[in-house]
C-alpha cells in the first residue's frame, strides 16, 4: 500500500467560485502531510470533501487503494477518518470520558451507561499516546490545550487511522504548541497517518514529511519538507516573494495619546482581574501588551473601549478623562478597535460587506442625513475600501459577511477602523488564524498607521509578532504588568519568563 488516502483530481464548485480546481493529494501511511494555503485557498473545502461534508463535482477518493464514495461524516468515520476541528465540539459540563463516548455510549448489561469501562479505555489510549488526560475532569475545568487532546482522544477512541487536524495550533500557547507537535509525531510512530491543515510554515517544517500547497483553489504542488525551505513554501503559497522580517524604521514617539493609571478591575472572586495597571501609549509607536491568553488583556481592552467599567483608576485619552464616556463617544474621541473575536464583536455576519463597512459611521454624514441612510454613499465608501484594502469576496459590497473567508473578514474590519483614522488604534490579536500573506499585510498596515503618527495598542499572544511589530512591550501576568521593555532590548527568553510570571531578570 503506497498511499492510505488518495484525493485524485478533485474539483468542487460553489456558485461563482471554484473552491477546488483539479486538486490531488496523496497521503503516505504513518506520515504527517501538511496542507498549506492562504485563507480561501480551498484547504477546508478539500478536507470537507474527504470528510464527506461536500460532494465533489469531479475526481475520486481512494482509501487504502480502494475507490470509495464518502457521502457523509459517518461514512468517513467508518473508513477510519477522524477530524479534529478548529472549534472544538465538546459539551462543557460533561467530563472528558462522557464527551468521548457521546454518540456511541457503551452499555452495561442493565442498559445503563458503562462509564467505568469507557474511562479505562480512555485512560489506556491516553497513556499509549502520551496525552495525559484525566478521564474524569470536566471540560470547563481544563485548558484549551487539554480540550484539544480530548478531541484527539475522541478520534482514537473510535479507532481512527487517519487524523485530520484543522489549524490545530491557532488556539494554543507556545508551550502547548510544542507539546502538540510532539504528540503528533508520536501518533505517526504508533501507526496513525495525519493530514495537517495549517498556514504556519514553522510548524510544517518541524513535523511534516510532505506538504501539498494550494493557491486560490488550484493545486500548486507537493514538496518533500526535509529538502524545501520555508521561503520556497511561502512563495508557492502566496505566488510571489514573501517578506518575513517586518520592515520598519525606528519609532519616533511623540505626545502621549492614551494614559492608563492605576487601573483596577475586581471580578466576582477575591483576586482582581486587573491589578494596578499603568502605561502610556504615545503617538507614533506600537505599544504591545503581551501575555498568555486569559491574563487580563481582554478585560483591559474592554475597559479602554468602554464595554466594562473599572473598579478604580483613570483612563486618559489625549488629556481627557474618558472613563464616563459611552462607547460611541469614545469611538468619536478617536479610538479605533479591531476586536479579538471578529465574528462576535467585529461584524454583523448577516449584514452585507457594505453594511458592515458603515457600522461605525452610518449615523454620520455623508452615510446618512437626518436619520435616513444614503445607500449610494455607503456603497461608494464600501467600494473604495474594498479596493484600497483588497477585500476579496464573491459579490463585492453586496456579499454577506458570513460567506467571506476569515482573512477577508478581518481585512474588512481593519479597513473600517483604519479608514476613520483614529488617534489610537487598538488591535487585539489581529492576525489570529490568518495566513502568511494576510499577516504580512496586517503588520504593514499597523506600522503605516504608526508612521502616520497614530498610537497603536497591540494585544498579542504570538511572541514573533510581539518582537517584530511592537516598539515597546508590556507583559501581563495574572492581571498585573510584570514589566515594560523596548522590543529591541529584549528577546524571546526574557519575554517568555515574564509571561510565566517572573519579573524582569534584573529585578531578582
Amino acid at each position: 500500500m503506497d498511499y492510505i488516502i488518495e484525493l485524485l483530481n478533485i474539483t468542487k464548485e460553489f456558485p461563482g467560485i471554484k473552491a477546488n480546481d483539479n486538486v490531488t493529494l496523496k497521503l503516505k501511511p504513518q506520515t504527517i502531510h501538511a496542507v498549506l494555503g492562504e485563507n480561501g485557498a480551498g484547504k477546508s473545502t478539500l478536507m470537507s470533501v474527504l470528510f464527506g461534508m461536500y460532494q465533489p463535482e469531479q475526481g475520486m477518493i481512494k482509501v487504502r487503494g480502494k475507490e470509495v464514495k464518502i457521502t457523509n461524516p459517518n461514512v468517513a468515520n467508518a473508513h477510519g477518518i477522524g477530524m479534529v476541528h478548529q472549534h472544538f465540539k465538546l459539551v462543557e459540563d460533561f467530563t472528558v470520558v462522557e464527551n468521548i463516548i457521546l454518540g456511541m455510549e457503551p452499555k452495561s448489561k442493565y442498559g445503563t451507561i458503562d462509564i467505568k469501562t469507557a474511562a479505562e479505555k480512555v485512560a489506556d489510549i491516553s497513556e499509549k499516546y502520551g496525552l495525559r488526560v484525566d478521564p474524569y475532569a470536566k471540560i470547563k475545568d481544563i485548558s484549551v490545550g487539554m480540550q484539544q487532546r480530548v478531541e484527539i482522544l475522541k478520534m482514537l477512541y473510535r479507532d481512527a487511522e487517519i487524523l485530520i487536524f484543522d489549524e490545530p495550533t491557532a488556539v494554543l500557547t507556545p508551550q502547548e504548541i510544542v507539546e502538540l507537535l510532539s504528540i503528533m509525531k508520536g501518533l505517526t510512530k504508533k501507526g496513525k497517518s495525519i493530514l495537517l491543515i495549517t498556514h504556519k510554515l514553522a510548524e510544517i517544517k518541524q513535523v511534516s514529511d510532505e506538504c501539498t500547497v494550494l493557491q486560490k483553489g488550484r493545486y500548486i504542488g507537493t514538496v518533500d519538507v526535509a529538502v524545501t525551505d520555508e521561503m520556497k513554501m511561502a512563495e508557492m503559497m502566496v505566488g510571489r516573494n514573501v517578506n518575513f522580517s517586518v520592515d520598519k524604521t525606528e519609532a519616533k514617539p511623540k505626545d502621549v495619546v492614551l494614559k492608563v493609571e492605576n487601573l483596577n478591575l475586581q471580578g466576582e472572586t477575591e483576586k482582581p482581574i486587573i491589578h494596578d495597571v499603568s502605561f502610556e501609549v504615545k503617538a507614533g509607536e506600537i505599544f504591545c501588551v503581551a501575555g498568555i491568553e486569559g491574563n487580563g488583556q481582554t478585560e483591559l481592552v474592554e475597559l479602554i473601549a468602554g464595554l466594562k467599567k473599572a473598579t478604580s483608576g483613570t483612563i486618559n485619552m489625549l488629556g481627557n478623562d474618558i472613563q464616563n464616556l459611552s462607547i460611541r463617544k469614545r469611538t468619536e474621541a478617536g479610538i479605533g478597535h479591531i476586536p479579538e473575536d471578529r465574528h462576535k464583536h467585529g461584524l454583523v455576519l448577516e449584514y452585507s460587506v457594505e453594511e458592515n463597512m458603515a457600522l461605525q459611521t452610518y449615523y454620520q454624514e455623508p452615510l446618512s442625513k437626518n436619520g435616513i441612510l444614503n445607500r449610494a454613499e455607503i456603497r461608494k465608501l464600501s467600494d473604495t475600501l474594498i479596493e484600497r484594502f483588497d477585500v476579496r469576496s464573491g459579490k463585492g459590497s453586496e456579499t454577506v459577511a458570513r460567506s467571506m473567508s476569515g482573512g477577508n473578514q478581518q481585512k474588512a474590519i481593519i479597513a473600517r477602523e483604519i479608514n476613520r483614522s483614529p488617534a489610537l488604534l487598538i488591535a487585539v490579536q489581529p492576525t489570529r488564524g490568518l495566513d502568511v500573506g494576510a499577516i504580512e499585510y496586517i503588520h504593514k498596515e499597523l506600522i503605516s498607521e504608526r508612521d502616520a503618527g497614530k498610537a497603536v495598542l497591540l494585544i498579542s499572544l504570538e511572541l514573533d509578532e510581539v518582537l517584530d511589530v511592537a516598539d515597546r512591550i508590556a507583559v501581563m501576568y495574572e492581571g498585573e504588568i510584570m514589566d515594560t521593555v523596548f522590543s529591541k532590548e529584549t528577546n524571546e527568553n526574557e519575554l517568555g519568563l515574564m509571561m510565566a510570571g517572573s519579573k524582569k531578570a534584573g529585578d531578582k
Binding site: P15, E57, A305, L307, S326, I327, R328, K329, R330, T331, H337, P339, K344, H345, G346, L347, V348, L349, E350, Y351, E355, A358, L359, Q360, Y362, Y363, S368, G371, I372, L373, R375
Partner: protein, 367 residues
C-alpha cells in the same frame, strides 16, 4: 433554473409558497375524505372569499369583507414582524391590541368632538396605549433581561381584566352586560363612500392605516439609521454594542413600536370592523400575526400578501361549509391554515429538500 433554485434567497422566498401548497393539498385530502369534490370545495372557497361566481363578480361586498378581515391581520403581522427584526418575540400583540382598542373606545364613546378631530385622536390614543402596554415587558427585558415571551403573554391576561373592569364600570352598553356602548359616529373609522363602493361591507379607513403602516415599516427598516441599528441588534447584540449602538434602548424602542402597531390593529378592529369592545374575548389576531410574519418573511410586501391570504381562507370558510353536499367539519379551513403555519415554521426543511432536488438533477444531467 437549478442555479436559481440553489440560491439561499430564492429558497427563502419559495418556502412560504410551498407551505401554502401543502396547506391546499391537505385541504384536498380532507374534502375527499368527507366524500365531496375538492374542485367544488375550492370553487366555493373562492366564491365565498371574493364573490366570484362562474367567472363573474357578483358584488364587491365579499372583496370588501376580505379586505376588512385582512386589515387588523396586516397590522398585527407588522407588529410581530417589527419585534422579530430586533430579535424580540412579542407574543403580547393581542393584549396590546385590546388596550389600544379599549383606549380608543373610551375616547370614542365618552368625548364629543368634531369628526375631523375625533378620528385622528382615537387613532393616536390607540397607538400610544398599545406602546405603553408594551412598555412594561420592554423595560423588564431591556433593564433586567426578563424573557419577553413570558411577560408579554402574561400582559395579555392583564389586558383582558383591564378591559373587563373598564367596560363594566365606565362604558357598559345599556343593552348588553358584556359589551361596551357603541362608539360615536364621529369617532368611527367607517366611511360611507367606502361602504357604498363595496356594497355595504364594513370596510373602513383602517385599510389605509394598515397600508401606510406597511410602507413606513419598510422605509424605517430599510432606509433609516434607526432601522439599521434595530436590525444590527437583532442579528448580533455584541457587535452592535461594540459599534456604540445603545442595545438596550433599541430593544425598548422595538418592543414599544411593536406595541404601537398592535394598538393600531386595535383601533381598526374595534372602531372599524366592529363598533364596540366585548368583555372576556382575547382577539386571536396576535397569534395570527405571528403566522403572517413568518409567512411574509418579515417583509412589508410579504406581510400584506400573507394577511390577504389568511383573510381569504377565513372569509371563504363559511361558504365551503354551507355549500358542499356532504357535511364538512367546521375545522376544515382552520386545519388548512394550521398546516400552512406548520410548514412555514419548518421552512428550513423545505429549503434543504429543494436544494437536494436541485443538485440531484444536476448530477443526473452530467452523466
Amino acid at each position: 433554473m437549478r442555479e436559481w433554485l440553489k440560491k439561499e434567497k430564492t429558497l427563502d422566498r419559495i418556502a412560504p409558497f410551498t407551505a401554502v401548497l401543502f396547506g391546499l393539498l391537505v385541504g384536498v385530502l380532507l374534502i375527499l375524505f368527507t366524500k365531496n369534490s375538492p374542485a367544488e370545495g375550492f370553487k366555493y372557497l373562492v366564491q365565498g372569499a371574493t364573490g366570484l361566481k362562474n367567472g363573474e363578480l357578483q358584488s364587491f361586498e365579499k372583496i370588501g369583507k376580505l379586505l376588512l378581515t385582512a386589515t387588523p391581520l396586516m397590522l398585527a403581522g407588522l407588529a410581530v414582524a417589527f419585534s422579530f427584526r430586533t430579535g424580540i418575540f412579542n407574543i403580547g400583540v393581542s393584549g396590546q391590541m385590546l388596550i389600544g382598542g379599549l383606549a380608543a373606545t373610551v375616547v370614542g364613546t365618552q368625548f364629543e368632538m368634531a369628526r375631523a378631530i375625533h378620528v385622528p385622536v382615537v387613532i393616536i390614543v390607540a397607538t400610544i396605549a398599545g406602546a405603553c402596554w408594551a412598555f412594561v415587558p420592554a423595560i423588564l427585558k431591556a433593564k433586567y433581561r426578563v424573557n419577553e415571551v413570558v411577560t408579554t403573554i402574561m400582559m395579555n391576561y392583564v389586558a383582558l381584566e383591564v378591559v373587563s373592569y373598564t367596560v363594566r364600570n365606565w362604558i357598559q352598553s345599556p343593552h348588553f352586560d358584556t359589551e361596551s356602548m357603541k362608539v360615536l359616529p364621529t369617532a368611527t373609522l367607517r366611511v360611507d363612500w367606502l361602504q357604498n363602493a363595496f356594497d355595504g361591507a364594513n370596510l373602513n379607513l383602517g385599510l389605509f392605516i394598515a397600508l401606510i403602516a406597511a410602507v413606513i415599516y419598510a422605509f424605517v427598516l430599510n432606509r433609516t439609521t434607526f432601522g439599521y441599528e434595530l436590525k444590527a441588534v437583532g442579528f448580533n447584540k455584541d457587535a452592535s454594542e461594540y459599534a456604540g449602538i445603545k442595545v438596550n434602548t433599541r430593544i425598548l424602542h422595538s418592543l414599544m413600536i411593536s406595541g404601537a402597531l398592535a394598538g393600531l390593529a386595535g383601533v381598526t378592529f374595534y372602531l372599524g370592523n366592529t363598533d364596540h369592545i366585548a368583555i372576556g374575548k382575547l382577539p386571536t389576531y396576535g397569534f395570527d400575526g405571528i403566522v403572517i410574519a413568518l409567512l411574509g418573511l418579515n417583509s412589508a410586501i410579504g406581510i400584506v400578501l400573507a394577511s390577504l391570504l389568511l383573510a381569504f381562507f377565513k372569509v371563504g370558510a363559511g361558504a365551503v361549509k354551507a355549500n358542499l353536499v356532504n357535511n364538512v367539519p367546521n375545522q376544515l379551513v382552520p386545519m388548512m391554515i394550521s398546516v400552512i403555519i406548520y410548514f412555514s415554521a419548518t421552512g428550513a426543511l423545505f429549503k434543504n429538500v429543494i436544494k437536494k432536488l436541485a443538485s440531484m438533477k444536476k448530477k443526473g444531467g452530467a452523466k
